[in-house]
């Protein structure tokens, strides 16, 4: 035992131990660095100059294709919007998830309750309005300069309908002081600008 103790006191022994530890320390730190960078490239940043290859498919409004199953906005209290842009009452929803276009209250591409800045007070109308074919330019413009916080969200969007569902939701752009809406009346926005800030 004593031998070991004395041995350990020798400077060069400690030196070797320290050196090895240092090498280990550096490699592990570097490895970690490398890993975070990879993650970031995986999920967040893309080359800023390069145009983001948005996967969004825009379905044009003439809807000539035959749809047997519709996706719809699921969440509504009373209303639903299907992927063709029809807004209907829950009771008028067909079994395939589409709105019954023959129901008297069903409307397509309706911008009811929406303001000029692209913010609406009812979510379903926001989605329907956003699905209008002529909103494509606006949305493309928005996507190309989506805010950082939005990147994760909008890179995962598959098509026009998903984009409108996601864009109309309240988000980090909808609040001031974190716990209040910028505009509690018209808070669902398909447009580029956040809701107009209402004075308290």
């Amino acid at each position: 035992m004593m031998v070991l103790r004395r041995l350990l006191r020798k400077r060069w022994v400690l030196g070797v131990v320290f050196g090895l530890s240092l090498i280990y320390f550096l490699t592990s730190t570097l490895k970690q660095e490398e890993r975070t960078i990879r993650d970031r490239t995986l999920l967040e940043a893309r080359d800023p100059d390069h145009r983001i290859p948005w996967k969004v498919r825009f379905n044009l409004g003439n809807s000539s294709r035959q749809i047997t199953q519709c996706r719809n906005s699921i969440q509504g209290k009373a209303l639903l919007t299907d992927e063709l842009g029809y807004v209907c009452e829950r009771k008028d929803l067909l079994i395939n998830g589409c709105c019954n276009v023959n129901a008297p209250s069903t409307r397509q591409y309706i911008c009811k309750s929406c303001l000029a800045n692209g913010c609406c007070s009812i979510y379903e109308y926001c989605v329907s309005c956003c699905l209008q074919p002529d909103k494509q330019l606006l949305l493309e413009r928005f996507l190309n300069r989506a805010a950082d916080g939005f990147r994760n969200l909008f890179t995962a969007v598959e098509d026009h309908f998903e984009l409108c569902l996601a864009k109309c939701r309240t988000s980090s752009q909808s609040v001031q002081h974190e716990n209040t809406y910028r505009n509690p009346q018209a808070k669902y926005c398909y447009g580029e600008s956040p809701p107009e800030l209402l004075p308290v």
């Binding site: 131990v17 969200l153 716990n179």
Partner: protein
């Protein structure tokens, strides 16, 4: 030479980073180091030593009766003082005089409420024991027994499991338990861990394996092939490191914070993810589930609503099935957040959230766990006691007009639970943030067992969990919700589930104690404020629903159902998945002097649009019955009735209402609701034990009949008063109503001083009142020549032989000449807060008693501090003072200890000092029900109409209900017998410490497939470390051959590795949210 391996192992450990000498962090490969230390450790440490000799602990005990000593059991948990009081009142009421005293129990638990007392009775007679037992709060009287316990170690008669299967657990077990963990049958109720009769028998509490998935019998479902596959689970937390060895199916990690990392720097997120989905060591519930890691908390535990909003949107887009949120906060008025949580559940995301770690105080529920559509989870320990930290009490959204909902929904293990460590290995943690992922993991596992996933939605899952939960005895519903999670029963229910509506609670039995506390603590009577029970309707049929027609009230004629009136209000739309059904119960006039039990039920039909119906416009309907049982007593006399003013109590949220005790800097907000069933619970219990009937006024003062009540109690009021209220109160007091005011501090300079920058809302917060709103109170009491000052005092004093603590209170500035005023020497806390100077002020008037001069006029008592009757941050209670004041106000008996106190002073005239004014530019009008914004100063609004209940038209039925509603009331119409579990061989997954290099070929029986590692576990580091170690080792070998060994001087430091190992185990046992 023998010591060589020890040193080698130490150095090896050092090299791979086990000894944190050079600031290294252990990484994925480090486990090999710990393994070798274990194996080379020459000391007979606890780990592994049990393998060689199998011992079984045998426990025997015998007992004998101790003479003259009796254990008096109470119906609930009471303070020592209250217990003493009950016993003395019970023995005093008996015919004979009994000599008795309480045997003191000197242990740390004596500071807390208890449900029994040890009493020595000199000459006990059967009658005296009988009188004791007759007391309403005494459950039973039993002779004290002396218990002799003998511990014996005996060699195990049968061979136990081979060592390596239990190796993982042994490290944390102090000794191997004699109780076999294997079970032979899974018949319901036989599971040892589910036996909740913790009061029924005395048993030794033993070291318990904290593998929570096993305790909850997840292995049964694993063996059936259910492991959570195909279910998407989102963990909203502090992130997860990429190469964590415990996870095999991390689908995605995203970062929503402003820190550029996805890794967990705290260990919280890793732990939570591990409880849900770890596949090795400390196993989670659903190892095959798809994990989505959302990093929404920074390493400094900062997060913002806006981060959550974006992250939640992403979770909706990704069609997450189960979402665990081990976070929470008091701000249920954060509308963007609350709306977003609704939106999530409306999109079929099952939200599981922790109820909060602010217990044992009541009124501490956290958002979002307190929402109807979220599964709110409380914590228990492994002995089935509600964990002290677990938040509790009703929700406070509904105050002051309504009554809170029952939360948490269920409870589960949250204390000392083991889960994944930050980099590798396991650790144990406590907190409701641990309990929440236990439920989230269970929910994930359950969801994967259901064939028709369409049936799984936030409501049906919650219905299955609460219907299957096992009730804990002796705990009320505002602490345990529906009881403790029972995974297997939930599985059975979920697999025979048909879409339907259900109620939570599923019945109203106002006589059932203690489960229905506080309802069971006070019977109802004619003329009292209606008792409100806020029932939650869960609708498993669809995200929206409605109540068809109106709920129907059907009194049971044979059971006096016609003696009560019932009014029902409910959500116009049940969205998302839930709504409320508020049942107000009142006694009919004909039962004004009647005593007895009345029963009936409310019938509700819920309809939802049928989504899978071929016919357009089809609806699903479900009818549920809500049985009601109440105890009615004759209306008590006016003097016994106390009215608690809830209407004028404001709190956070929405506004910044500061704490009443300024010393409590880490808890700056007054957020517990200030209700007799939240943070004034002890006071309420005390008043009940003194025989007072306490009712709550949730409407303006103009809305009650003052001739019914002896005393109006106003404590810590922050609200303003309508002019009509002030006039009415004056008239009431002239007519004999008495008033007790417990005020609090109000000093504009101090208010400016306690403003703070709120990190969450990124703005400065200025309080809108002080502890109380003294300018408003002064407006109310000025007609009697009374006023409070803006002084701020603090200190200890003695009053009538009671120790008192004045925690940030004000003083009385003006009082009528013929009143009684008590003054004390106190510290000027205002000076301390503002200038950090201490000064003692002599003769601060703190208490005033006054008899109004008019004929038959009432009495007024003022006290400057409310902290001593408030449960939050209370140091010394002053319930005795409240008793004395109530004696004065209700019975006109002036307590001599106060009227003849040497602290009595001549009442202050207060003309020398101006009275406190409202803080310039305060925003109270934003949160006030009384004020509204106006040009210039805010003005009172027009007086609102008093609440009006429309009583349901009774439709009497000739039915009788069973005497015990709980046992008979079905929570869900599910036939449990249909889904029988196969009688399986009990099985425990083999848990082995990870050793790299071992391929995926190890056998895990049952459903757990030995999936690929999430990532290749640190390949290069161990190799590198090994090479380094070899160099050092060879060097030593060379050296040793050269040098001779000498006798050692002192003991070698070989304990080092063991010490470190222990240190690692005990690390991080801090509760977290």
């Amino acid at each position: 030479m023998i010591l060589l391996p020890v040193w080698a192992s130490m150095l090896l450990g050092l090299l791979v980073g086990f000894l944190p000498l050079v600031g290294m962090e252990p990484t994925g490969g480090a486990k090999s180091g710990s393994d070798s230390t274990l194996n080379l450790d020459p000391l007979p440490s606890s780990s592994g030593s049990n393998c060689s000799s199998q011992l079984t602990l045998k426990l025997e005990f015998s007992s004998k009766v101790v003479e003259h000593e009796y254990i008096v059991g109470f119906t609930g948990y009471f303070s020592a003082k209250a217990r003493n009081l009950y016993i003395s009142s019970a023995l005093r009421s008996g015919a004979e005089t009994v000599e008795w005293h309480i045997v003191p129990r000197e242990n740390p638990a004596s500071d807390f409420p208890s449900d029994f007392e040890l009493v020595h009775i000199r000459q006990p007679s059967p009658t005296s024991l009988k009188t004791l037992e007759d007391h309403p709060y005494i459950k039973r009287v039993t002779p004290q027994r002396k218990v002799f316990r003998v511990l014996k170690y005996v060699p195990s008669p049968e061979p136990t499991a081979p060592c390596n299967t239990t190796r993982g657990t042994q490290k944390w077990q102090s000794w191997q338990s004699s109780r076999p963990f294997r079970r032979t049958s899974l018949s319901l109720g036989s599971g040892f861990w589910h036996a909740t009769g913790r009061h029924s028998s005395r048993r030794l509490l033993r070291a318990i394996p904290r593998h929570v998935a096993q305790i909850l019998q997840a292995d049964v479902l694993w063996q059936m092939g259910h492991t959570g596959s195909g279910v998407k689970v989102a963990v909203f937390d502090t992130g997860l490191s990429e190469k964590h060895p415990h996870f095999k199916n991390v689908k995605e990690r995203t970062n929503w914070t402003n820190e550029k990392t996805l890794d967990d720097g705290l260990g919280h997120g890793t732990f939570v993810a591990g409880v849900i989905a770890s596949m090795r060591e400390c196993q989670g519930f659903a190892p095959d589930s798809e994990l989505h890691i959302f990093r929404v908390f920074t390493n400094n535990q900062v997060s913002y609503t806006s981060w959550f909003l974006d992250a939640f949107n992403y979770a909706i887009l990704k069609k997450i099935d189960v979402l665990n949120l081990s976070i929470g906060g008091p701000d249920f008025m954060d509308h963007p957040f609350v709306d977003k949580v609704w939106e999530l559940t409306a999109n079929r995301v099952i939200m599981v959230s922790a109820i909060g770690n602010d217990g044992p105080l009541y009124g501490t529920l956290n958002n979002p766990a307190d929402q109807m559509d979220v599964i709110g989870v409380g914590g228990i320990d492994f002995e089935d006691n509600i964990a002290r930290f677990s938040s509790r009490g009703m929700t406070t959204w509904e105050l002051p007009g309504g009554y809170g909902r029952v939360k948490p929904d269920i409870v589960t293990y949250g204390s000392g639970v083991r889960g994944s460590g930050m980099k590798e290995g396991c650790r144990s943690l406590s907190g409701t943030s641990v309990a929440s992922p236990v439920v989230a993991g269970a929910v994930t596992l359950l969801a994967s067992t259901v064939l028709n996933r369409e049936l799984v939605n936030p409501a049906s899952m919650k219905q299955a969990l609460i219907a299957s939960a096992r009730r804990l005895p002796g705990v009320n519903m505002f602490e345990q919700g529906h009881g403790k999670l029972d995974l297997i029963r939930a599985y059975q229910i979920l697999n025979s589930y048909r879409p339907q509506a259900s109620l939570s609670p599923s019945y109203i039995d106002l006589t059932e104690c203690p489960y229905m506390w506080p309802y069971c603590s006070q019977p109802i009577y004619y003329g009292g404020m209606p008792t409100i029970v806020n029932v939650t309707i869960l609708n498993g049929m669809g995200v929206t629903g409605r109540i068809v027609d109106k709920p129907i009230w059907q009194p049971y004629l044979p059971q006096n159902g016609d003696h009560i009136d019932v009014a029902v209000s409910y959500s116009p739309v049940l969205w998302p998945w839930a709504g409320y059904l508020a049942v107000s119960i009142s006694v009919a006039k004909k039962a004004a002097s009647w005593e007895g039990i009345a029963q009936g039920h409310v019938m509700v039909t819920v309809a939802s649009p049928a989504e899978n119906d071929s016919e357009v416009g089809g609806e699903l309907t479900s009818t549920v019955k809500l049985p009601i049982k109440v105890k009615i007593v004759p209306t008590p006399p006016r003097s016994k009735r106390v009215l608690w003013d809830q209407y004028h109590n404001l709190r956070y949220p929405p506004g910044y209402f500061p704490r009443d005790n300024l010393r409590m800097k880490n808890d700056p907000l007054d957020w517990n609701g200030d209700h007799i069933h939240t943070n004034f619970r002890d006071m309420y219990q005390h008043l009940r034990s003194m025989g007072y009937f306490v009712e709550v006024l949730g409407a303006p003062i103009t809305c009650f009949d003052a001739s019914q009540y002896g005393t109006l109690l106003m404590v810590d009021s922050e609200e303003e008063y309508f002019p009509e209220e002030i006039t009415k109160l004056r008239r009431d007091i002239d007519n004999g109503l008495s008033l007790i005011v417990f005020s609090d501090w109000y000093n504009t300079s101090v208010m400016r001083k306690v403003k703070f920058y709120d990190e969450n809302t990124r703005q400065w917060w200025m309080p809108d009142t002080g502890g109380a709103n003294i300018p408003a109170l002064n407006d109310l009491i000025s007609v009697w020549g009374m006023a409070f000052s803006d002084g701020l005092y603090e200190g200890d004093f003695t009053l009538a032989d009671h120790d008192m603590y004045y925690a940030s209170g004000c003083s009385i500035a003006r009082f009528p000449d013929d009143g009684i005023v008590i003054a004390k020497n106190l510290k000027d806390q205002g000076l301390e807060v503002l200038k950090q100077e201490t000064a003692v002020v002599e003769g601060v008037p703190v208490l005033g008693l006054y008899q109004t001069p008019s004929d038959g006029g009432g009495r007024i008592a003022l006290y400057g501090d409310s902290n001593c009757i408030d449960d939050s941050h209370r140091q010394k209670d002053c319930f005795w003072l409240l008793d004395a004041l109530l004696q004065y106000t209700s019975y006109s008996m002036t307590p001599p200890s106060l009227s003849h106190s040497h602290s009595r002073v001549t009442p202050p005239t207060g003309t020398d000092r101006s009275l406190p004014q409202r803080l310039e530019g305060n925003h109270l009008y934003r949160y006030s029900k009384v004020l509204e914004a106006h040009l210039g100063d805010p003005k009172p609004r027009p007086l609102p109409a008093c609440p009006h209940l429309s009583w349901a038209k009774p439709q009497p039925v000739n039915e009788t209900a069973p005497s015990n509603l709980w046992k008979h009331q079905k929570l869900l119409s599910v036939d449990l017998d249909k889904v029988a579990l196969p009688n399986m061989r009990a099985y425990r997954p083999q848990v082995r410490p990870l050793s790299p290099g071992e391929s995926g070929a190890w056998d895990i029986p049952g459903g757990i497939m030995p999936g690929r590692y999430n990532q290749e576990v640190g390949q290069t580091i161990p190799v590198f470390a090994f090479l380094g170690a070899m160099v050092v080792l060879s060097f030593f070998v060379v050296q040793l051959t050269k040098t001779k060994s000498k006798p050692k001087r002192r003991k070698p430091r070989i304990k080092r590795p063991t010490y470190l190992q222990q240190q690692q185990q005990t690390m991080g046992k801090n509760p977290t949210v």
